[in-house]
């Protein structure tokens, strides 16, 4: 009988081709996703006159640079048009399936992978994007890699890795109404820090995690990297299997039964050892917003901006001063009084159908006091939202209903927050300049962004949900 193993140990073992004496292991890659930003890796292939080893296991998605407002037929900016075209050329040259700009399956890569049934439990998945951790929500070992590693995967379908340490984050109990997966993620990062999980593979566990929908799990695993972990994983269960079944690329027929049998064993054994454990109580988590320039600068909405004068640690006080200066905030300001200039609902973190429903539940019959953009996570999410009438709710509230892409989360398609404007955003990074030079980002859940839209300031969504179906 084998020693008790963690879910992560099992995933790792299933992909290890070879291990060297120095501990570095060669891992098999089941799925590889590429996007416009992967052009550096394709250039490396060209320089080596190399071919793609397994074109059937790599899938391309146009998401980082695609326009998300107005017509997509013509891209005015020639540099951006070139980025989209280069992905088309590179995938065509190497026989890689592309969900391009005109494809109905197009969307943000971390939304599209699960949606198309390409992301499955038990797989090892990589992509040249740090939010690849998202796919761990289905019980896959998924992590972001750099361009040289992307080139290596293209050429060999493998990757050299050193096994990370194992961290279990357990969340027991029930979430209060109005509290979402994003709040869990921000609560964890606030607790352990933006480098709290560096060098670790996270497993999210506990009754509150098991109670999350697939969308919520994807949000939670997505934010693993903001705590420093390259990957976050959740053991697959009925929620996962129900989500995967019948999706276009998912196994079917006898293969489905074989898959289900294998996936059902993907859980941490009783008595398995983690290198570190963190426990949180779900009921303690309130709706959270960020106030600073790191996702760890997160506080419950009833809190106040920190005061550097009350900070005993000099380095920390200096950091607070700089963050507050960048964010244009006075020390001690109550979070719920901070006026915003615009909102953004989108990104691989929070633009799935459930996210749009949560925002629409708050916005229905109400008007946004500020302008804003809603960019669905995929073209399929967009169609579903329109079938459900959610687009009308957003439009009637005065918001722009856009197309799918990375959009204003990273701002490289031209959709940016203007300098010194304050944006309530469902995205993942409140870094300086992330949403555009000098942009001020406050991260929060979709429902909390909707609440900020309705009131024109950072707000607790819970009173706005009274008497409504959230």
């Amino acid at each position: 009988m084998n020693a008790p193993a963690t879910l992560f140990d099992k995933l790792w073992a299933a992909h290890e081709i070879a291990r060297r004496d120095d501990g570095e292991a060669l891992l098999w890659v089941d799925r590889h996703y590429v996007h416009e930003g992967s052009f550096n890796a394709f250039s490396q292939l060209k320089a080596r006159v190399a071919r793609v080893a397994e074109p059937g296991l790599t899938f391309g998605v146009a998401d980082h640079y695609v326009p998300t407002r107005g017509s997509r037929r013509h891209i005015d900016n020639p540099d951006i048009a070139r980025m989209v075209r280069t992905l088309e050329d590179n995938t065509a040259e190497h026989g890689i399936t592309l969900f391009g700009l005109e494809d109905p399956r197009q969307g943000i890569v971390h939304v599209v992978g699960p949606e198309q049934g390409l992301t499955l439990p038990g797989l090892l998945i990589v992509c040249g994007d740090s939010h690849t951790s998202t796919h761990g929500a289905l019980g896959a070992y998924a992590f972001g890699i750099g361009a040289s590693e992307v080139a290596h995967v293209l050429m060999t379908q493998t990757l050299w890795q050193r096994k990370p340490k194992r961290l279990r984050i357990a969340l027991e109990g029930r979430l209060a109404p109005g509290v979402a997966a994003k709040d869990i993620a921000l609560a964890i990062i606030a607790r352990i820090g933006a480098d709290g999980a560096t060098g670790h593979a996270i497993e999210f566990a506990g009754s509150a995690v098991r109670a999350l929908s697939m969308e919520g799990r994807l949000t939670l695993c997505n934010m693993s990297i903001e705590a420093g972990a390259r990957s976050g994983v959740i053991a697959p269960d009925e929620t996962t299997f129900d989500y995967v079944k019948g999706r276009p690329y998912a196994p079917n027929g006898p293969a489905w039964d074989a898959a289900l049998a294998a996936w059902s064993a993907l859980a941490t054994d009783d008595g398995a050892q983690f290198d570190r454990e963190v426990a949180l109580t779900a009921a303690d988590i309130a709706p959270i917003v960020t106030w600073g320039t790191s996702p760890q600068d997160a506080l419950p909405i009833d809190g106040s901006v920190p005061d550097p004068a009350r900070e005993p640690d000099a380095a920390r006080a200096k950091y607070l001063c700089e963050a507050l200066d960048y964010m244009g905030l006075m020390p001690g300001t109550k979070l719920a009084t901070i006026a915003i200039d615009r909102i953004f609902i989108g990104s691989c973190t929070n633009a799935r159908i459930e996210d749009l429903r949560a925002a629409a539940a708050v916005l229905s019959g109400r008007v946004s006091k500020v302008p804003g953009l809603v960019s669905p996570g995929s073209s399929a999410v967009k169609r579903q939202a329109e079938e459900e009438g959610l687009d009308r709710i957003f439009r009637d509230a005065g918001l722009e209903w856009g197309e799918s892409g990375c959009s204003m989360c990273v701002g490289i398609n031209g959709d940016v927050v203007p300098p010194r404007e304050r944006c309530a955003s469902t995205t993942n990074r409140n870094f300086r300049g992330r949403q555009g030079p000098l942009a001020r980002t406050h991260l929060m859940s979709p429902a909390m962004v909707a609440a900020a839209a309705v009131t024109g300031r950072l707000s607790d969504v819970r009173p706005l949900l009274a008497g409504r179906k959230a």
């Binding site: 060669l26 750099g146 000098l438």
Partner: protein, 206 residues
């Protein structure tokens, strides 16, 4: 990839925790091909103001540190986005070594693929080195990867680095060359895995 064995150069302190890759290379420069060089875009929005003027108080703009080839950073240096171009920007600017208490995992991996040394030191060692450099900005710093030591003004401290990355940097190896000797293992794994996990391949789309 260029080898890294030993380097003596000026070192610039950048005492900022969580200096993420969006700061090292703002996203709008990600379209720039590597061949064009990314050194001018390094830390663009911290080095220059909105009008494109240099911020004179930013450390890398101060005379003794303009030619720095070593950066002494804060905790979690290079966290955030996986963009390898953040490493290209450092390298193209002339930086060959970053010393910090910790690094973003993806950044550290990318650095080792491109000849950039990420040297890990304790928090207080980074603070002490920063103090030394604040006192004597033009003091040369010697980083020795063989010995895993950093020397400045007669003081020597040790740094750590993943041993695999160390070997790779010392020899200038890249992963692709290393993997070539494993092609038979890969082929054998693939055959066995197809039988073991037939469901792991994408189905014909429905």
């Amino acid at each position: 990839m260029e080898k890294f064995t030993r380097l003596t150069a000026r070192a610039c302190p950048l005492d900022v925790a969580n200096l993420n890759t969006d700061q090292l290379l703002p996203a709008r420069f990600l379209k720039v091909p590597r061949a064009a060089g990314l050194g001018t875009a390094l830390l663009r929005d911290l080095r220059f103001d909105a009008e494109g003027r240099e911020r004179p108080d930013f450390p890398l703009n101060r005379p003794p540190w303009r030619e720095a080839r070593i950066i002494v950073g804060g905790r979690n240096f290079g966290c955030g986005s996986s963009r390898e171009a953040a490493v290209y920007a450092l390298y193209d600017y002339g930086i060959r070594c970053v010393i910090a208490p910790s690094f973003g995992d993806i950044f550290a991996g990318n650095a080792a693929q491109n000849g950039l040394l990420t040297a890990i030191v304790a928090d207080d060692a980074a603070a002490a080195l920063t103090r030394l450099l604040d006192e004597t900005p033009d003091a040369p710093v010697t980083v020795d990867l063989e010995q895993q030591t950093i020397e400045c003004r007669g003081e020597t401290l040790r740094f750590s680095i993943d041993p695999v990355r160390r070997t790779r940097l010392l020899n200038g190896w890249d992963d692709v060359a290393m993997t070539e000797s494993y092609m038979r293992d890969i082929a054998a794994f693939k055959t066995a895995d197809l039988a073991r996990r037939p469901w792991a391949r994408p189905a014909e789309p429905r």
